[in-house]
Symmetry: C2
Subunit: 320 residues, 2 copies
């Protein structure tokens, strides 16, 4: 059965049924099925972020299955909430698709999305559906600060250290493998298709006194650049502190990219892993899943090993 045969209201019911299978949680006062959702916000503040994902630009139906596409769409928004130091609470899902898309495909997409929500402790509380000539996902994530101050991009101070939690470069390596028609190493393909951000690291970083934080979605250099610009500081990344990654090295060897375009480029400029990058005051004891990789100084911009950075500064969506 296709979406066209099911109709809009039928599709809404499919989505509602998936959402109903999630733990509703005590935060949802009014869920799917009304003009709007109503969520509890006991903190008296709400964190909100939105992302638009377009077939052919942000995902490909021939490269990723629906559950992976849904999970990844959820992940990138939930990670934005975590990057403010908040716990993800709820997702609103706009979903447009051609009428000939199978209902099972849409159901699997929603299930992947809902599953990633559950991993983050959030639930799907609302959405919208439409026809379109290609698949479009518009995801809004809402989060709760639990009494903590939000961690913005603008609080980094000279003397702070830069650290990250999560993985760097795996998604970019997986994409390079897919572009080369390869399906191995499977772990990197999976990292591209379904990143698994460490959401809890965000609120934990806030509690640990992080001065600034960002979700690495445009690549470490670009996102460190956003931190540096917003904070009015310079960030120097020490590549010797980036951990070795045999999987990335093997992928680079397979692709003949031992130098430029290989491991270091993936780790410095690859997006979509949704690691969290944060600055902390000097000397702060950090849990082992945070890796210190740089230094905040007076000045501006991002340096790599003390030098002006070269290479791609991040992704350019328009006109590529």
């Amino acid at each position: 059965m296709t979406i066209s045969e099911l109709g809009e209201f039928g599709l809404i019911e499919v989505i509602a049924a998936i959402a109903a299978g999630l733990p509703r949680g005590d935060r949802t006062i009014v869920g799917i099925g009304d003009d709007a959702a109503v969520l509890a916000a006991p903190d008296t503040r709400v964190v909100a972020t939105t992302d638009l994902l377009i077939e052919g630009r942000h995902f490909r139906r021939d490269w990723s299955g629906p559950a992976d596409i849904g999970a990844k769409a959820a992940a990138q928004n939930l990670a934005d909430v975590a990057a403010m130091g908040a716990d993800p609470v709820a997702l609103l899902v706009g979903f447009a698709a051609p009428g000939d898309v199978a209902v099972a495909w849409a159901r699997d997409l929603m299930a992947g999305l809902a599953g990633e929500c559950a991993r983050a402790g959030a639930t799907v509380v609302g959405g919208d559906t439409s026809g379109a000539d290609l698949v479009v996902l518009a995801i809004t994530a809402l989060g709760d600060l639990g009494g903590r101050d939000p961690v913005t991009r603008s609080g980094a101070r000279p003397g702070d250290v830069l650290a990250y939690a999560g993985v760097l470069g795996e998604s970019a390596a997986g994409l390079a493998l897919l572009e080369a028609g390869l399906a191995e190493p499977a772990a990197l393909i999976t990292a591209h298709r379904r990143p698994a951000p460490r959401y809890a690291a965000g609120p934990e970083a806030a509690a640990l006194g992080a001065t600034a934080m960002i979700d690495v979605s445009d690549g470490l250099l670009a996102d460190a650049g956003h931190l540096a610009r917003a904070s009015g500081v310079q960030i120097d990344i020490d590549t010797a502190r980036l951990p070795g990654h045999p999987g990335l090295a093997a992928a680079a060897a397979t692709l003949g990219r031992e130098g430029r375009g290989g491991v270091l480029d993936w780790m410095l400029t690859g997006g979509e892993d949704h690691a969290l990058a944060a600055t902390f005051p000097p000397g702060r004891a950090l849990p082992s899943y945070w890796t210190v990789i740089g230094q905040v100084r007076a000045g501006q911009g991002v340096l790599v090993d003390g030098n002006q950075m070269t290479g791609r500064a991040g992704w350019k969506h328009f006109g590529d």
Copy 2:
């Protein structure tokens, strides 16, 4: 200059500059430019709704200018918030467009969107931009209940009356005129291009004791049907109580639609005017901008003048 020449970060800056021109309000704790926005929610609840608008399905660039498209996109989401009995507070805007779209066009769209926000007392607090082969807008609206209970679709009780505030049928008539290649009456064309919901009627209805409420976006019959189904009641619409509308009558005459497909169809099945339809306990004194047009009874479904309804039950997006 085109969007492609400006680039994504440049476009974000254009959007941020427009948002910065709006009254920021004391609700915005963190606005555009971080991983997520942070809004005050002193009520300890937040109302949230999202809509996806696709070029060629929900608007046409050759029929509507960018300011109208932006205003309409904002209106339909802000009206959903009002229909819960809440005051609209903030909008998140996902915007995708082909690279050859002029920056001025995007700027006008955002200005239209921001202007409608201002009319509703809301502000733009965040968003996302992307390239796409056609224009896509994903709008999320957030609202504040101000201590009132949310007015859902499920509270209508036998004995209640059905009333509406705003206009019915004007957008559908404007669309019919545009489809026929006509540009007059201009007021109806404008009603289609830029509906002007009466947002304050939503919170006021909540304060007046409305038992159920909905934003009329699929057409009065379809949306009354949503109320009836969610509330487990029957709603009987008395067409004799629908106010006369010389403008609609003139448009119907111009189009040769004195009967089927004309005024009554537009008022009963036309969507996109974003009137509010609400049920109130019997005998409740209502301000003059609410027009009582029906009766809630035990039973199910929607009747028109006591008869099973005929004609379109609403819009069907998929596969049309």
